[in-house]
Symmetry: C2
């Protein structure tokens, strides 16, 4: 049901009083995303310990002032909740500032008030408030600042979420919903030294491990495993070198029933006695999920593709938590390169816009900028593009004003790291990642065409947001810089003989002979090529097996997107069936960090030189949901919030397909077969 407002027209005309909408917890923009991103990432288990990210973290504000200008026709009784130590202040119609004239909980704002302010401190959780009165409620019409009333220069519109409306539960104390889940099998596996109980939950899962009927005393090692082989690798959990990633020691001496304090990702649980005589009668878990309805859907004539869609959705449900982590077990961190792909997938499955926004903040942090996002230059550049795409999909009109100050300071940081020609320099501490590849990429010692393209995109995106908030001179400067850098790419990097863009030009002017897919495929969807060059790139790079293949689903995301962008959906369908279908044939219940069809058995689980180093539930593995929604069903917003959109379906060889794409106002249903397609709007939000 679309909400309707019954506003007496006379009242509206007579005053600025707005009738109350839903009261939400509000906080300083970014504080929640930074705070819960830090918490979640620092729960990563590795080798018996909790490993925090290797990049610097940022802190949310510990003290915030929330303000709203008001105009009242009568005294306004307010219910006020604060997560932290707080006081309510207000200004009267003669400009007097009345400090702390409030009993928290209930407070009547006098009729002659012209503004209300809540000052709050919380050193442990994001300071946040909830206010409800007949006319005034806490929402993004409030401003937040971290300094004096008088200095409103730092004021930004408050942030909120439909997740946090319960007055009893501030964001910093909210937990995701859980329900109990029993294993499909549990017992004591034969021949596994010291293992006293184990369980298989039947599919990749996430939650709080529970032990029942615990007897005796002593400690155990809990092994979180994604494969049966990993669960049984007790020898590794008992050594330091080559150790299992996901295990930890727990003392059960005092427990009869045990529920872990921290939720984590796994399919199998193995429990090894470490000391004492402890025994465990049974095992289960509390499955934890964000509980988001799957608003996107997809069915087609190919059952394998349907199953790929379903398992992608499950992968995404597991990795899209309070903020979007990259793998539920390893490495449990928020990486910009991975997250911006999760956003795109999420737009076609859950439409969880708040989750994208919170994750953008986790990545960006607070001022001053300490380093590139995740210390990776490309990951900084992707972030800017993701901000712009977030606005397009979500239609969030407030975010630009909230984020622009930090967008600008991050861009200042990025620009300060460029070389004397204004190109992305190879600097100590700035990791040029691009991709994991079988052969080392020539990423260092000069400027890659790829990073320069990302910088251009970042500048264009920032200019767009600057324009939105009225910072036109900023926008002009960013655009001028983008234009200059964009114009350099083809003249500098195009090699007529190879019919492709080259990857790297070193600082001494030498061109590295390696051709890679990366700049060529990004060049395709960023519009760098005329028709002749486009054909040349498709032939000489995209469809040329002699050019090093892309191995990670991370970069295959863009490769397949590039192929879709040039209408090669049928080739992409084949790729999806062989790559993702290949994982399904091996029993995958979620999609992996990497899949190499040439590998056998346990070798599939190894990565980073560790026997079970590979993540088997990895956000970037879910990319088919994006490719299907965006390029098969063919739905794209062309104005913010899908106020306008286009539908260009491509069956790619399927007999028929149908599905839903979530939007802020509902869903777009598309049904396609060889005779044509039908689009239905469902406006129910």
């Amino acid at each position: 049901m679309k909400k309707k407002l019954f506003l007496p027209a006379l009242v509206l005309a007579a005053s600025l009083v707005a009738y109350a909408q839903e009261a939400r917890w509000i906080w300083y923009p970014g504080d929640y995303g930074i705070w819960c991103g830090n918490e979640l990432q620092s729960e990563r288990l590795q080798w018996g310990a909790r490993l925090t990210p290797f990049w610097p973290l940022y802190e949310p504000h510990s003290r915030v002032l929330f303000r709203k200008d008001v105009k009242l026709e009568a005294d306004e009784p307010l219910e006020i909740r604060c997560d932290g130590n707080a006081a309510v202040c207000w200004t009267d119609d003669r400009g007097n500032y009345i400090e702390s004239a409030a009993l928290l909980g209930k407070f009547t704002l006098p009729k002659n008030a012209t503004s209300i302010e809540v000052k709050i401190h919380n050193g442990a959780r994001p300071p946040s408030i909830w206010v409800k009165g007949p006319h005034i409620v806490s929402d993004s019409s409030w401003n937040a600042g971290w300094t004096l009333s008088a200095d409103k220069a730092d004021d930004v519109p408050c942030e909120s979420s439909s997740r946090f409306v319960d007055p009893q539960t501030p964001p910093g104390l909210a937990k995701l919903p859980t329900h109990e889940k029993k294993p499909v099998w549990s017992g004591t596996p034969a021949g596994v030294d010291g293992m006293i109980i184990a369980a298989d939950f039947g599919e990749e899962t996430y939650g709080y491990v529970k032990f029942h009927d615990v007897k005796g005393s002593g400690a155990v090692k809990i092994i979180y495993a994604e494969s049966e082989a990993e669960m049984k690798a007790v020898d590794l959990a008992n050594t330091e070198k080559g150790a299992l990633d996901g295990w930890e020691m727990i003392d059960l001496s005092e427990a009869k029933e045990f529920r872990h304090k921290i939720a984590y990702g796994f399919r199998y649980i193995g429990v090894v006695r470490a000391s004492g005589d402890v025994s465990i009668g049974g095992i289960s878990m509390d499955y934890e999920t964000k509980g988001l309805p799957v608003r996107g859907s997809f069915r087609c004539s190919d059952e394998e593709l349907n199953r790929i869609w379903d398992v992608s959705v499950h992968t995404l449900e597991l990795t899209c938590r309070e903020v979007f982590i990259e793998g539920v077990k390893r490495d449990h961190w928020v990486w910009s390169g991975d997250a911006v792909q999760s956003f795109l997938m999420n737009y076609y499955v859950f439409g969880d816009y708040d989750g994208c926004r919170d994750t953008l903040w986790t990545l960006r942090g607070k001022d001053p900028v300490k380093c590139h996002l995740n210390r990776i230059m490309d990951y900084t550049f992707y972030w800017f593009d993701a901000v712009e795409k977030y606005r397009m999909y979500s239609g969030d009109k407030v975010f630009a004003r909230q984020v622009y100050p930090r967008m600008k300071s991050l861009m200042e940081y990025a620009l300060s790291r460029l070389d004397s020609e204004g190109r992305p320099a190879d600097r100590e501490g700035d990791w040029m990642f691009i991709d994991w590849a079988p052969k080392p990429l020539p990423n260092n010692g000069g400027v890659t065409s790829f990073e320069q393209m990302l910088l251009v995109r970042a500048l264009e995106a920032t200019a767009g947001v600057a324009r939105d908030v009225g910072a036109d001179s900023d926008a002009d400067a960013y655009l001028a810089r983008a234009k200059k850098l964009r114009a350099e790419i083809v003249p500098r990097y195009w090699n007529a003989e190879k019919g492709a863009l080259m990857h790297m030009i070193y600082n001494d002017g030498r061109v590295d002979p390696m051709v890679t897919r990366y700049p060529n495929m990004f060049g395709l969807f960023y519009g760098y090529f005329d028709d002749a060059r486009k054909s040349s790139v498709v032939k000489n790079v995209m469809l040329n097996d002699a050019v090093m293949k892309i191995q990670t689903p991370y970069m295959r995301f863009y490769e397949l997107e590039a192929l879709c962008a040039i209408g090669m959906q049928s080739k992409v369908l084949g790729e999806m069936k062989s790559y993702w279908g290949g994982m399904l044939k091996l029993g995958a219940t979620s999609f992996w960090e990497l899949y190499n069809p040439d590998e056998k058995g346990e070798a599939h689980y190894a990565m980073y030189g560790r026997r079970f180093g590979k993540s088997l539930c990895h956000a970037w593995g879910a990319s088919p949901v994006y490719l299907i929604g965006r390029y098969f069903l063919g739905v794209t917003p062309t104005a913010p919030g899908f106020e306008k959109y286009e539908v260009k379906p491509n069956l790619g060889g399927l007999e028929w397909m149908e599905g839903d794409v979530p939007t802020p106002w509902g869903k777009i249903h598309v049904r396609v077969d060889k005779s044509g397609h039908k689009v239905t709007e469902i406006r129910d939000r």
Copy 2:
């Protein structure tokens, strides 16, 4: 007992192994002081709410890396405690970095380790660790950083405290010790509307209010009062305008016994029924104190002065908490101008050096600098001087390396606010406070001689610390600037006719006609005057009743210090007896924010336009302990940590006096009578 080290000389010669000293909790310098300063200040009660400071607060780091280079002769078994999610990492002798190879709690660092690192996150409390092995313990030989191992640029020596050595209790979970205290009177005062119980604890106190035998249900208002009249002013607690500062609403519906969660300052407690039928059978409190031994002492031939010393010590004990607040009830905040005086008093009573250091951090916060300390320009300048004095009294050799980066950035901020001549400019948002005075001071619209003197002192102090950490070019630059500004003062501000320094020269060159005591008395102890001018200032300002008198004990601190510095102890003795003795005669059990002998009755409790707005336990009220120790007993360090010191007693008219001055290594006992004096060193630490 002085600690002795029994080190086998051969082992010392053979390797870098140091035998383990006391293991302490360690943290990133400043994190504890910033964190607990925020917590304590945000507990201020005002008008039924908790009022956070009006200046911006800073956040401690949420993630810290602790590192130590090691050289081992055998595997080192370590006990490790972490307050937060953490992992232990180490580097081997081939330079391999082993990430997270640790079971927390117990961990054996292999013999071939060359460094150990603990990475830790805590978003709610200062991340801190405790490590103990045969040779390695956590102490200030460890470094702390907030970024990658590879980037040691930000490394500083860790901070610790002898308060935090218990492995079970990290700093962020430690509470000050308490013991139960009964009231000297409790009952239901007649004729006080709605008051169901009240109590008098006999003297100013601080702690957790407790109610016993609670029956019925409903809410009460607790009134924290420093005078009986305030306790009875229920009418004020029931209105918003002119309301009592220290009251709050508490729901007792579920309680049989009630203990408040937050400790606070008061002498009297009044409890007023706010709703329901709740009754309270009895009242007591848990007195909370830092539990510091009173290491200084003083007795003399004048019993009133002895009592002044005792009550000053009590005032100081109450206000010197985790960090040094200004008043225990109002306003419960940490002000630089007040705190630096508490430091000096504390050096002569408790010798609580960690408390000073933690408070210096509360005030300074973290980078980037957001504004002047407490938003007051003078308060920024005092802080630099206090850092230098802290080093002199405490002998802390590590602090310079910990604090210098933030000393430098604060000085950069301060210098960025100067005018085009490099003088302290009157800028929007930079409060030039100097003092509360009966007549407004001409502090705005130009440059005051007073602020310029403070800037000179700040530059000199910063240069001293810069020199200590080897930043010689910084030191030279600060000194050059100080010299130039210092040389300007007398030529610019001296008025030969008035025989005094003038207060203000406006931006248009006009000299304000007002002569104030402030620059003249600071000029005395900062050495601005030749003998002729010194005499002139004493006669025309210090002893001239026509020059506006100083009213606050805050600035009287410096006035009396100036008089002592020129040998006028007997005048100061008279002032102490009349001002502080006057408060005692009115029944004070702690010293007040302000005392005006001309006032009568309840008028003594009024301030800031509020009937009970005055703090009756105010740190700056305790200044006699400093004047007595520094200028009567006459003990001053002349090298850091009292490695050298001078004793220049001055009886100031007393028959005899004796006392102890605490030092890092013990005490200096001084006994003085008219025949001479005797100094005894007690080296017991």
